[in-house]
Symmetry: D2
Subunit: 356 residues, 4 copies
C-alpha cells in the first residue's frame, strides 16, 4: 500500500504483541493436533469463566465465514434454514457459504434508521423480536408450510455489520421468541469485544452466554492473528464435532495455535482491555469528524464509523488513506466506513484527520 | 374428499382422455428406457415445431420443483445464484430445493398491485426489467462483489404464482437485460398453456422460445398425468444431461411415459385447445363472482382467481368445496384461490356458485 | 425399435392392465395432492397388512434412484455415509446421486462367485454379515476414526443387481450386526416381487419387514407404470418427510397416482401373482438356454439371467432382440443380461430362443 | 503431554524461527485483506520461479483437507468425481469433505508391497498409470456410463500417506494418461519438501510443475505455522476463485499471513533446506532402528517411517514417546508411524532410541 495509513477494516494488522511473544516463546515445544491439546483446554476454561457459564462447550475455528457455515450446519436439520437480517453477514457477504452447505438463509427486513429513537444508536442491521415472532408464527400458520423452508435457527450479529448493537432488552425479547419456538439463537461475535466495550451498551458477556444457545468470540478482528472461539452456552455441541468440522475443511491441524491466542486474550482481561482502545479511538474519531462537520450515515456506538463524503474529497483521501467503500449516497457523494481497532493510536487519528 | 367439488388447484385430476387412451392402447409394447426412445423424439420434434425453434433441444422431466432444481443447477456455476421474484416458486415454495443443490435464490421484490395500470391485469408476482438491471448493475459495481453470490441466471414464471402475465414488451426488456449481462433467462411454464390462452396476452409460444434461453411447458397442470417438457431454445443443453438428471434423482426409467403424453398434447393443437377451456371457465367464474359482488384480491388474466371472502362464508364453503387458502386478509376475511383447469365444466361452475 | 422383442430389462412396458383400467375408470375424479389422499392411505394400509407390520409408516416415491437418495439422506447425519456392496446400485449406477446429497458410499467388497456353495445360487452382489461387522468394528477401533466417514446406515438390495438373493439366515445375521452398532438397515427392493417369488428363497415379505428398518417395494419393474413404496417398518419416518422429499425434487403433485397403483398391486395378491410369472418365465428361459448349452455367468434364482455369448452370435442376436450389455468376458465373448418380467409370455421365450 | 518427546507427526511444532521472526518484525504494519496484498504477490512470484513455471497462477489456503476440497471442487463438473488411490487422503481420511461438496471419490486399488521391486522403496499408497488407464478406458467403454460418475480429475499425493514416492517415469506415465483423456492431474504435496529431498527420488519441483495441472506445496507440515500454496501450473485458475474459496469457508481475512510464510520459505531455498533435515533425521532413525533389529512395515524413502512393534514394547514406549497408531499387525503386534520433521535433532533421535 502506497497509502500512509488504513482505516479500511479491523483486520489489517497482525496479532497483539503478547500473542506473538507467546508464539515465539514456544520454541520447539510439541503439541498434539486438532484442538485436543492442553492449551486449547486452558483457553476454553478461561472463556467459560469469563462467560460465567461452566456448562458451556468451547472449540476454536479459524475465520468468521467458516464459523458461520459450520455452526449453522450443526444447528439445522437438512430441510431447515437460518433466519437472519437481510443485511446479515450470512445473508449478504459470504458468497453463498450457507447455501453451499445446503441451507437457505431466511431474510428478515433489517430495521432502518428511522427507528433510531434512543441513546443506543441506530437500529440498522438488527432484527426485532416482533418481526421474528411474526415471521415464525406466520410460517407455522401457513397451510402450505410443509412446502417451504422451515426456520431452524436464528442468526444475529453483535455488533452488526453496521456497527450497531442490541440492547439487553432486545436480546431478551429475541431470546424469548427463540425459546417459544424452540429455535436455537446463534450470535456472530466477530467484533464482540468492540460491542462489549461500547460506551452505549448494557449487554455483558455473561448476558450473551445466558441469552444465546451458541455464539462466537471473534479473534481475527480483535487482537488475534486469526481465530474465533465458538461457545455452545448450554452444552449441546454435536456429539461428533470433529468430523463435521473436518468435512467443512475447517479443522486446523495445529489447533493449539488457536488455543494459544485465546488463552492469551482471556488472561488478565486482555480481550476487553484492547477492545476498549478501539472504542476510545472511535469516540475520538467521531469528535474530530464532528468538528469538521462530516455527516454520519448512521449513529454507530462501536468501532466502525460511516460517513458521507463528497466524491471529490474521497478522490483526495484515497491517495493517502485506506477506507472501505460502503455504498453510493447520491450522484456526488459516497458512504465510506472507517474502522478503528485494538491497535489504533491517537497519532493514527491525527494522520487520518490531516487527510480529511 | 367429502366435498362435492374442488377448485383448490389445477392438478386434482388425471390426464386428458386422449392421453389415457393412448397409454392403454400401448398394450404390451416395449420401449427403451431413460427418454432415448422414438416417442420422446417425436414429442420433442412436435414441440420444436410448435415453438418454431428447430435448433432447440428438448427433454422431459416429471414435476415442477424437480425441473426447476435440475435446470437451474444446469445453468449455474457453483458460486452463482438465480435471480427470482421473492414470491417466485423457487424462492418461496420449493422447501429449499434450490439451496439443496448448493445455490442461493437472489430475491427481487415482486411488483405489487399498486402498479397495476393496464389492461393486462395485476403485476403481482412479476419482476421488472428495471429492477433486474439495477440489481445486476449494482452487484458488479459493488467493490465487495467477490464476497457475494454472483447472479448467474434469471428465473421468471409465466403465468406467475399469482396467475399474472408478462407482456411481450416486458419479456423483451427482461430478455435484453439478461443478454446484456450474459445471464441465461429461464421461464417456468408450469401453467404455460393457461398463459398462452389468456384473453389478455400478446405473448405467443414462439415469443417465449425467442426471448428465453430455456423454459418448460407444464404438463402436470395442463392435461398430462405428470410431466414437464424442458426446451433449451438455442441448443446449449449440457453435454451430459443424463448423469446430471440422474444425480438429481430425476431420471424416469420409463421415459417414454413422458414422451407419449407430450406427443399427444402436441398433436392437433391439443395442449392449447384444452388450455383455452380453463380460461373460458375462469372468465365465466369471474363474471359469476362479480355478479355476486365478491371482491377480488388481484386482477388475474388466467385460470387462478383470488377472492377475499368472509371467514363465516368460508366456513360454510369448505363443507362442500375444495379451495386453496392463500393468506389472511384481515381479522375476519381470508384470501382464497379458486383454480379452473382443462377439464372444468359449466356445471362445475354452477355447483361452485351454489355454494358461494 | 426395429428389434422384434426385448429382454433388455424389466421396465420396457407400461403397467399391468388392472392398473391402467383403474386409472382410466377414475374419469374426472378429483383428489388432493402430495400423497395426502385416501387412496394413498388405503394403499399404505394394504401394504402394512401384507407385511404384517401395523406399526409401519408408508409413503410413495416415483423411481429407484430417487428413493435411494431420499431415504438414505433421511437416515444419515451429515458426517455419516452408507455402507453398501461395491456393486450396489447406490455405489455404482446412480451417477453420484448419494454424493450429490453430501454423503459418501462406503463400499464393502461384494462377494464373488467362488463362494457360491449352496442351493440358493450365487453370492455375487451381496455383502456378508462378517465383512460388515469387521468393517464397522475396525472403524470404531481406529484411533483416527473421527477423521473418517462414519458408517451411518447399511444398504442392501434384494434381489441384488446380479439377481442374487440373501437367505433368511444371512438377513438375520446382517440385521443383528446393524442392531449391535445401531445402524439402520435399508433394503432396496426395486425388484422385490421377483425375489419373493423365486423358487429358491426362504425369505418372506414379513421377514423383510421384521429384519430391516426401512425398505421399499419396487413398482416400476414389477407391474406399475412407475413408483416405489417406502416402508419404515418400525415407524420412525422423519417428522417432516414432505419438505425433505420436496427438497429432493421428489414430491409428486398428483401423489394419488402412486396410491392407485400400489392399491391395485396389493389387492388380491396381484403384486406377488404377477411376480411369479417373471420367475416362471425365467426358469423356462434357463431350461431352454441350458438345452442349447449356453454358459451362465452366474447362477441367478430370479428374473435376471446372465449368459456368456460369443461376439459373433451377439452381432446376430442384436438385429432382432433387445438385451443388456453387462461386461466383456474375454476378447471374443461378452456377458449379457436377459430379463423376464411380469408380462413375459411363453411365446416371447420362443421368439427369443429362435434368435439364440 | 507427559511424554518427553513426540514423533507422532510432522505438525507438532510451530513455524521455523525465520517465519516467526518476520511475523514479529511486522509490528503494526497494515496490509489489505484476502490475499490481494504485495507479500502474497511476492511469495507467488518466488514460487513460480522455483517451479520454473512463469505462466503458473498461485494462491494460498490454510490447510490440507480444505485445499483438497476446494481445488477438487474447482476442477470438477457437478456430475464428475475424482479418481484417487483408495488409501489417498481424500478417499480415506477427510471425513467426507469431498462428498460434502457433492463429488464422489472414485477409488483405484493402491498398489501393494509385493510390487516393491526397485531402489525407490515401496509402492504402497500409489496408483499406476496402467490401472488408471484401464479404469478410465473401461468407464467410457461401458454402455451404461451415463448412469455412473464420470472421472473428472485425478488426485495423487507425493509423498503418499505411506511416505512413498512416484518416480519421474511413473509421473510421466500418469500424466500422459490424464492428457489422453483430458483429465486434470492434481498432486497433493502436503509433505512435498520431504519428497523432493528424499535420497531416493529423481523428481524435481520443476518436474511436478510440468507434469501436473495443479499441485500444492505443503507448509503446515514443512516449516510453516499453517498454509498450503496452490499452483495452477498452466494458468487455468477459475475466473472467480475468491467467491469459490469463500463459499468453502476457506478465505483467510489476513491472507498476507500466508504470504509472509511462503515468501520466507521460498527465500534462499529455505523450504528445501529444512526439508532436507527431516530426511537426514529419518535416515538416521532408520539406521538406528535397523541396528536394534526393528522390522519395517514398508520401505519409506521419506520422513514417515513405519515399524512393527510388539504390543508389550509399545505399552512401554507410549509412557514417554508420542507416535501414531497405524494399524494392528497381528494379535500381539502393531504398526506405528514415527515421523521426523524440519526441526528434528540428533538429540531427539537419541531420546527416542533410548525408549525403544
Amino acid at each position: 500500500m502506497a497509502q500512509i495509513i488504513s482505516f479500511s477494516s479491523d483486520y489489517t494488522r497482525n496479532a497483539h504483541p503478547a500473542i506473538l511473544k507467546r508464539l515465539l516463546d514456544m520454541g520447539m515445544e510439541q503439541n498434539v493436533g486438532y484442538g485436543s491439546d492442553d492449551i486449547c483446554r486452558s483457553a476454553a476454561d478461561k472463556i467459560k469463566k469469563a462467560c460465567e457459564c461452566p456448562e458451556a462447550e468451547v472449540f476454536f475455528l479459524v475465520g468468521g465465514t467458516q464459523t458461520n457455515q459450520t455452526v449453522i450446519d450443526m444447528l439445522l436439520k437438512p430441510y431447515e434454514g437460518v433466519v437472519a437480517a437481510q443485511t446479515g453477514h450470512v445473508a449478504a457477504h459470504e458468497a453463498g457459504a450457507i447455501e453451499f452447505s445446503g441451507h437457505k438463509v431466511l431474510p428478515l427486513p433489517a430495521e432502518g434508521e428511522e427507528t433510531n429513537t434512543d441513546k443506543y444508536g441506530s437500529n440498522i442491521g438488527k432484527i426485532s423480536a416482533k418481526e421474528l415472532k411474526d415471521y415464525v408464527s406466520n410460517f407455522f400458520a401457513d397451510d402450505n408450510h410443509e412446502h417451504m423452508v422451515f426456520p431452524g435457527a436464528v442468526y444475529i450479529s453483535h455488533p452488526t455489520e453496521y456497527g450497531t448493537l442490541y440492547t439487553q432488552k432486545e436480546l431478551e425479547d429475541i431470546s424469548a421468541v427463540c425459546r417459544e419456538f424452540n429455535l436455537p439463537l446463534f450470535l456472530d461475535g466477530a467484533r464482540l469485544g468492540y460491542g462489549l466495550m461500547s460506551k452505549r451498551t448494557d449487554v455483558t458477556l455473561k448476558d450473551i452466554a445466558e441469552l444465546t444457545d451458541v455464539f462466537y468470540i471473534g479473534g481475527t478482528k480483535v487482537g488475534a492473528m486469526f481465530g474465533e472461539a465458538v461457545v455452545f452456552t448450554k452444552g449441546g455441541k454435536p456429539a461428533h464435532h470433529i468430523p463435521i468440522i473436518k468435512q467443512h475443511g475447517a479443522l486446523l491441524a495445529k489447533g493449539w495455535l488457536l488455543g494459544v491466542q485465546f488463552d492469551t486474550l482471556f488472561t488478565d482481561n486482555l480481550y476487553l482491555d484492547i477492545s476498549r482502545n478501539a472504542i476510545d479511538m472511535a469516540e475520538l474519531l467521531k469528535e474530530r469528524l464532528q468538528e469538521k462537520n462530516y455527516e454520519f450515515f448512521l449513529d454507530s456506538p462501536t468501532n466502525q464509523q460511516f460517513i458521507i463524503i463528497s466524491d471529490d474529497k474521497l478522490a483526495e483521501l484515497e491517495k493517502n488513506v485506506g477506507y472501505s467503500f460502503w455504498e453510493k449516497y447520491d450522484d456526488t457523494h459516497t458512504v465510506i466506513r472507517l474502522a478503528t481497532d485494538w491497535a489504533t493510536t491517537r497519532e493514527n487519528i491525527d494522520t487520518l484527520m490531516k487527510c480529511l
